[in-house]
Symmetry: C2
Subunit: 486 residues, 2 copies
């Protein structure tokens, strides 16, 4: 077979499939990715929120129950005009548009969610409409599900793909998104809604530190969704809290040990020496505060095990360090001693990541990535040279604590911490939202209940959908879901 024939053959294919070929050609045969991590992030926030203070009044509960007891301020929500597919479409579209990403340059798309509208068709396939028009069908990835952990599974899968022998030089993209709604009752104020789209690739300004991560997975029914005909979860509140704290213990201690062994001198590490900032999954802010304190308590136990005297700020914990683990999870005296520790360190390490979730509520898989967006929004370039510890938890359960380094981008680089900061524009987006009454919030959830699993046209008004966002136009009689962009 003549070489010219082959060239002609290739040329005709190239014409037909220009999209894939461009990216594949760019990949060369054996390129290897280095310094893989997060290149860019974008988020979607619903336009409406209800005030937790107003909810306290409407629900007739004691003042401070939601605002102090849960540590929450505002809760974002959507009615039946938006669903998991539409908020993912919006977040990914924004990421592509606002960072100028060519859809042909994406080789992997994954979705982390626990807001399913179908038990077989994955939201990832619905996102393909954003890539098909550019002629790009060669996109791996599916939907990953494990309560609030799906985004982290997707991040790790994305990173591994870029580092694998199969990487073809294109970007990996994932979106972590959820609509968290609870039936009327004490759990309802812990709802929320959010979507974060993340671009992953080499030479990243937020670099995943290899092997500096530790996972805790167990079989437990702390929070789950066994009701297949309702959007609402089943929650064992007490078990959920203990499961979360156990996961913090296990992930943190094992990670400190790994970090210590990776460090040739085996330097003893504490929360403050190992990290500059911490970012937590945030069902509600109070649990974030408790998790941070729990890490201080683990430090106190570790100091004791290492026969090192407790530093002065941890000294009040001395009498608790020998307790059996089981006697610590709901120990009121220990909790009081931890609460008495000045919040200076918390304010510095955790404070810059918490406002977003306090103002949108729990966004499940999106929560920890919303908090990371918040940290970058607050600190931007200041994160360069700093190390972040990130704790992601999904009920059922699996949790991972992992390590991300902020890196200064070289001159002319496409992606940098300042660029993410400018793009997410968080404070303005939060300020532009509209406050509605608790009654309007309850009505919106009623619309969702009515539409869940049904076909027809959603009753919610598209005036609540922001410009450029996607919304559910109709669910046809055959349950095909039709989306439109405003």
């Amino acid at each position: 077979m003549a070489a010219t024939t082959v060239k002609r053959m290739l040329a005709s294919w190239q014409l037909a499939q220009r999209g894939q070929i461009r990216a594949f050609t760019a990949s060369a045969a054996s390129q290897k990715a280095h310094n893989v991590g997060i290149l860019a992030m974008e988020s979607y926030i619903p336009t409406r929120f209800v005030s937790q203070e107003q909810l306290e009044v409407a629900d007739g509960v004691s003042k401070g129950k939601y605002t102090i007891g849960l540590g929450q301020k505002k809760m974002a929500f959507v009615d039946d005009r938006e669903d998991i597919n539409s908020i993912c479409l919006t977040a990914v579209q924004r990421l592509l548009d606002n960072y100028g990403i060519d859809p042909k340059d994406v080789g992997r798309v994954e979705v982390g969610t626990e807001s399913l509208v179908d038990k077989s068709k994955s939201t990832k396939t619905t996102l393909m409409k954003l890539f098909e028009d550019a002629g790009n069908h060669d996109i791996e990835g599916a939907t990953v599900m494990n309560a609030c952990y799906g985004g982290t599974a997707a991040l790790f899968n994305s990173q591994a793909w870029v580092e694998s022998s199969d990487w073809d030089g294109r970007y990996a993209l994932f979106v972590a998104a959820d609509i968290a709604v609870y039936e009327a009752g004490p759990a309802r104020p812990t709802g929320g809604c959010g979507a974060v789209a993340v671009l992953v690739g080499p030479e990243a300004p937020m670099r995943l530190v290899p092997k500096a991560r530790s996972t805790h997975s167990v079989d437990v029914y702390d929070f789950y969704k066994p009701s297949l005909s309702s959007e609402y979860p089943a929650v064992d509140g007490a078990l959920s809290q203990v499961s979360y704290i156990k996961a913090v213990d296990d992930c943190y201690n094992a990670l400190m040990e790994k970090v210590s062994r990776m460090n040739k001198r085996h330097t003893f590490q504490t929360v403050e020496s190992a990290f500059n900032h911490l970012v937590f999954h945030s069902p509600y802010n109070k649990l974030v505060q408790q998790s941070f304190r729990r890490m201080l308590y683990n430090d106190a136990r570790r100091f004791k095990q290492a026969n090192i005297a407790l530093p002065s700020h941890l000294a009040p914990l001395a009498k608790f360090v020998d307790l059996a683990a089981k006697d610590t999870y709901t120990n009121k005296d220990l909790e009081k001693a931890l609460q008495a520790i000045p919040t200076t360190v918390y304010d510095r390490m955790v404070g810059p990541s918490i406002e977003f979730s306090q103002n949108i509520g729990n966004s499940y898989t999106a929560a920890v990535y919303s908090n990371l967006v918040c940290l970058v929004d607050n600190l931007g370039k200041e994160l360069e040279g700093r190390r972040m510890g990130i704790f992601s938890y999904g009920s059922g359960a699996i949790a991972t604590m992992f390590t991300v380094d902020g890196i200064a981008a070289p001159p002319g680089a496409s992606f940098s911490l300042p660029r993410i900061q400018q793009t997410v524009n968080l404070k303005q987006r939060l300020a532009e939202r509209k406050e509605v009454t608790p009654a309007e919030f309850v009505d919106a959830l009623k619309l969702r209940e009515k539409m869940y699993g049904k076909s027809g046209t959603p009753a919610g008004s598209i005036t609540h959908v922001p410009e450029g966002a996607y919304y559910l136009k109709e669910v046809l009689g055959n349950h095909n879901r039709v989306y439109a962009r405003k």
Copy 2:
């Protein structure tokens, strides 16, 4: 801080967490995995089946409708005593037991399925009970969902993790499993049930060929599960068939192009030159036959595009090679011309992988891996030095065609093709099953319908559960699912 103190500290942790530490220590700091792929496979087959011939009689359809029209022989099924969690537990337990895998040596577990019993708690977390007893909680991975594609997503994720900078030297394990059931009607005989557990690691006897894979993903409603209160899917049969064939076209042509470019001499490749064997996802065997013929048709088009004369066995396709693609998907004349091509090549390349699925039915995510198990069961050592093309399809849709090389294991290696062949022991396991009447099959599905989403004790007898397998003991009032091992 004295070095002895640190050593003491480490020793105490090692005592407490021996499981994780052993594996981590074994990993060294910067080891790199080579020749990653499938090390071992095990499968679970229900003990009961119904004959498709008997079903034809019971359903009052024309003789041959299921056996020839669909190409199926027997259909495996389970009643309400088994669910997605129990069949995954059984398959993973068998893999660990029958290959002597220490649960502490597994660092990643993923589940590919579309048989959900919970919309938040992933089956992966239920599998943790097999690892927790060994003290191993440090296991990444979740559940991945995209119709029948979840297993392939899990395989790629497993491979990438082993090749990533975060790999700690332990095995990745995934299980692809589904219970395929349809409401009474024409689709019901296309059901089935199966689970395949797969161990992934370096120096594998079934090696994934880097970059020799191509994906086709689009947004389509061909097969989906919008009914959240029923186990049964919605199917657009005609669309599903065309979507599948389009995916074959796109994956195969793009892969041939990649392979041609990877080959410095750009040798023109055909089905027969590129692969020794082909393994397809198998909703029913007839579609496997059609897919293979479609690849021959694509070869004919590619010969034409390359200005190479058609080889004699493809000559009857000459008059179809210039058709617009849209005119080929349901073209009866083309189908007849393809059917007239002698099946010699099909019998050699595809034949050794089809009997398993013909005898258990469609097992969705497990199907293509069941077919791979079947190929190894039939050929074992003969696969050494041979190249397999594997086509995985999940509705919604995403499909990938990828390449696996059979490799001779070095002397003393733990994993080899002959070992997999001996372990899966497929013919005996299929022969040991019990045939039941169509009425008993229908009754079993009725039990499933009744139990779906409910709490209580399943009505099905555990006599149908094989020794050593897991089964659903009870669903508690709070919807916690309790499993036992027989």
